[in-house]
Symmetry: D2
Subunit: 272 residues, 4 copies
């Protein structure tokens, strides 16, 4: 019997790229929230997702520096297997009377993070991601008002985004755009007809458990999105900055549920 | 309407990680064929695939250095978008009275190659792959008898495999293990129950068109597989070397067909 | 007039790979101290350096995760310009009646760290370095007794070293092998006769300022050095483990002084 | 006695980052020649180098894809040790009545290439370099009129340069800017006074042997240099394109000679 949560599948499952969930994470989140024309969000939402009722053009650009592991914590002690960084863009949407967050773009720097994203419905690409890390000594910033953090994202040897923030004060929430369960699509194209989907479902997922330090509101001293022939981030260029946030967190992820099977319910959207 | 052959899907489809098929490739293939205990192959074949009738323990370890592109050739001129290398392990299997090749392990060094592999049913991980390139001048080898080529594979900062071959003479075929259509599984786990599959199908795929130079038979001067806590290559250590091969090729890939839907036909294998 | 602390030198100096010293660092240090046959240390010490009087076979293998910057702190906010990791091997030696530490092997993962090392006499290569980072939330370890940290080093796609430690208790010192000023050679070969040195001097250098948290003594749960055709770490395989250490520090580096000009004083060693 | 052409130096020399010269290379060169205001070249030439008499504002931007090795060819068969790519900018200058080429900026993607550059006086940084490779089959270009090649350079996660050319016809020379012996500075700052040089010499170096296929003149379909806060390539933006070139070559490098010792002859330039 083949074993393994994700390929390659083998008799023992040892070669699998991913351990079974739950998955555990420690990490730092640097967030810039801003507004775009809601039409820029709408055009990224596949049917039947709709714009959120309130502040529908709100966007969160988030950098994260993670250490992750499975239940046996093995990846923490061979850290090339568990550390990764990511940068991602979140909008909000509405389905079945509920508001969801939704990741529309995401870059990570390891294969296991790509594979987890495929399971979770994140549209992952590889990128080069850097963000200032807090440190208790020397020139790096403490997690405290007045501290400055920077972040950058590149892919295919082009810089795509960069930000600099200064922490201002503790606040109750780490922003509002990425605060709902995620509504994500999972797609697989048919092998014999690439215009047809073999799987097209909308799933909802969120952290099973979460802890963390205080959230900090931050001034956004610099935020820039750059054009690229293979990206569309420039279509999400900010019209108005809402604010910055910084928080250190611990998270457990352990699955989700199907919101909608686009193939079963809506045969008219099987063709792209 | 969302566009894009692979995520992220957008209004224009420009940000998609993959262009629509067909996909075009130019590349060099360095192959080592050898035999293992057929039981080592059998345990890698999920039901209902069976061992090949002849030489069932034959394995091909292949390194490839590719330049790839979509129909508009754009990736050739911005080569970070189209060049990649891979190392992969192929066995043979039997289904419905036909013999197929099957990739059981594969490492590549770009995200677009991972994504194409997901569509095609290759169990891709990221790796560091190097192989000697032929060159008409200086110390690098020509494509000619007597020339020596080396190759290596590493993943997660561990060397997994290395080979050295010497070209001997032109031969009609570039080995026999990777010479059939591929029979690959495409799997997606259910988001609400990771023990259940949402998609589990066996597809057949092969090159739509192929051209190439002469195949060369080669002596295998060195071939080694190394252990790793996250890999099982050492279970495929050679009992007997069959031979080496080297060939330069051009290939077009343009889809495949479903051989078997494991969920529809065999509900008893929905649980891993 | 050409400007720039390190090449490329230009009219403005802006393209220089390094800013002028002083250089500032925040980082975490994971150390394994152990003993080898002192002859293994002696053969790494060029004339006129001699073995240390006490515990001459003591070795420190150190992993470090750094954020670094120049006086204007610019690299902290564009962190691809300042973050790097390193793994290095330190022994002790004696010169002019004083005991010095000396780095005999070092791997880093950025070009600016290589360039700083050339100025400081470190024999740097590129490597892939990972070490567990402390974190206040989730599965990653706190900086506290009982916490476990792992580390790995690879170069040229081969794993060279790995370690796992468990913090035990606060101690006054972060080990003793890397506790002295460094005595390093700076070499440049003559362009017209590679058997002759154009520069061969021994310099002494140490931190200009340092701060830090408590040092922790740690058990060494795992420590392994692996062979490689282009490395000699296996010659420094431990005969006896002394212990592990962990400490977070802030450091300022601002130059050193010449201990010995091998060309001026010892013409007989100009030829290798 | 310590051995090794370049650090780390050991009893056997096996760990050295570089083998002894001569060094052997096989590679492909994609060149764009163009003109800038000669003042932009003059400000990059340290005393006593002067502008070339003819066409003093001519610049060559060159991408190269190399396989390299020492006398025993070992790096060809473990190709992670010998393959690398580079992008570099060459101008011309005059010294002692002779015309020299001079590399003013260069990026490579391996440590051994950085180390060789230090010996040869190239101001190397790490970069990400890609260039289309010729191939006899499939969509990649042949080395023949009408074939198109592209190239890109990035460093610190920013794209710095890109080019696209179309081969036109065989020509006798592969451009003229990089056609002279190189005049390069080798610098080492004093460890106790970074405003003072411990070594500052101008050396001349060129290939000891060279072979190659025909040079091709090419149209320059696209050439762009991008700004970066840590680079000055934008100061060398083209005022007029001269032309493109493409050639495959084999080269041997085996040392050079000192043209000028700036410290001995010109004490007034010891201070930057």
């Amino acid at each position: 019997m083949s074993q393994g949560f994700f390929g390659p599948r083998t008799a023992s499952g040892r070669a699998a790229l991913l351990p079974d969930p739950p998955w555990f994470y420690s990490g730092d989140l640097l967030t810039v929230e801003y507004r775009v024309d809601p039409e820029r969000v709408r055009e990224l939402l596949p049917h039947p997702l709709e714009l959120a009722d309130e502040d529908p053009g709100a966007v969160a650009f988030i950098w994260a520096d993670w250490q992750s592991c499975g239940s046996d914590r093995a990846q923490l002690l061979d850290p090339v297997l568990g550390q990764y960084k990511e940068a991602f863009v979140v909008v909000r949407c509405r389905f079945g009377g509920q508001t969801y967050s939704r990741c529309v773009y995401i870059w990570v720097d390891t294969d296991f993070a790509i594979a987890r994203g495929l399971h979770q419905g994140y549209p992952k690409k590889l990128g080069a991601i850097h963000l200032t890390r807090p440190h208790p000594y020397g020139p790096a910033p403490r997690v405290a008002p007045g501290s400055r953090f920077g972040a950058s994202l590149a892919a295919s040897d082009r810089r795509l985004a960069e930000a600099q923030i200064t922490l201002l004060e503790e606040v109750p929430e780490n922003g509002f755009v990425n605060a709902h369960p995620m509504a994500h699509n999972r797609y697989v194209r048919a092998i014999d007809d690439p215009s047809r989907f073999r799987l097209d479902e909308i799933i909802a997922t969120s952290a099973a458990e979460a802890e963390g330090g205080p959230a900090y509101r931050a001034s956004v001293d610099h935020f820039a999105l750059f054009p690229s022939p293979t990206e569309e981030l420039d279509l999400l260029a900010p019209e108005e900055i809402i604010g910055g946030y910084y928080r250190q967190v611990g998270v457990v992820w352990n699955g989700g549920r199907v919101l909608h099977d686009n193939l079963a319910d809506q045969p008219e959207v099987q063709h792209a």
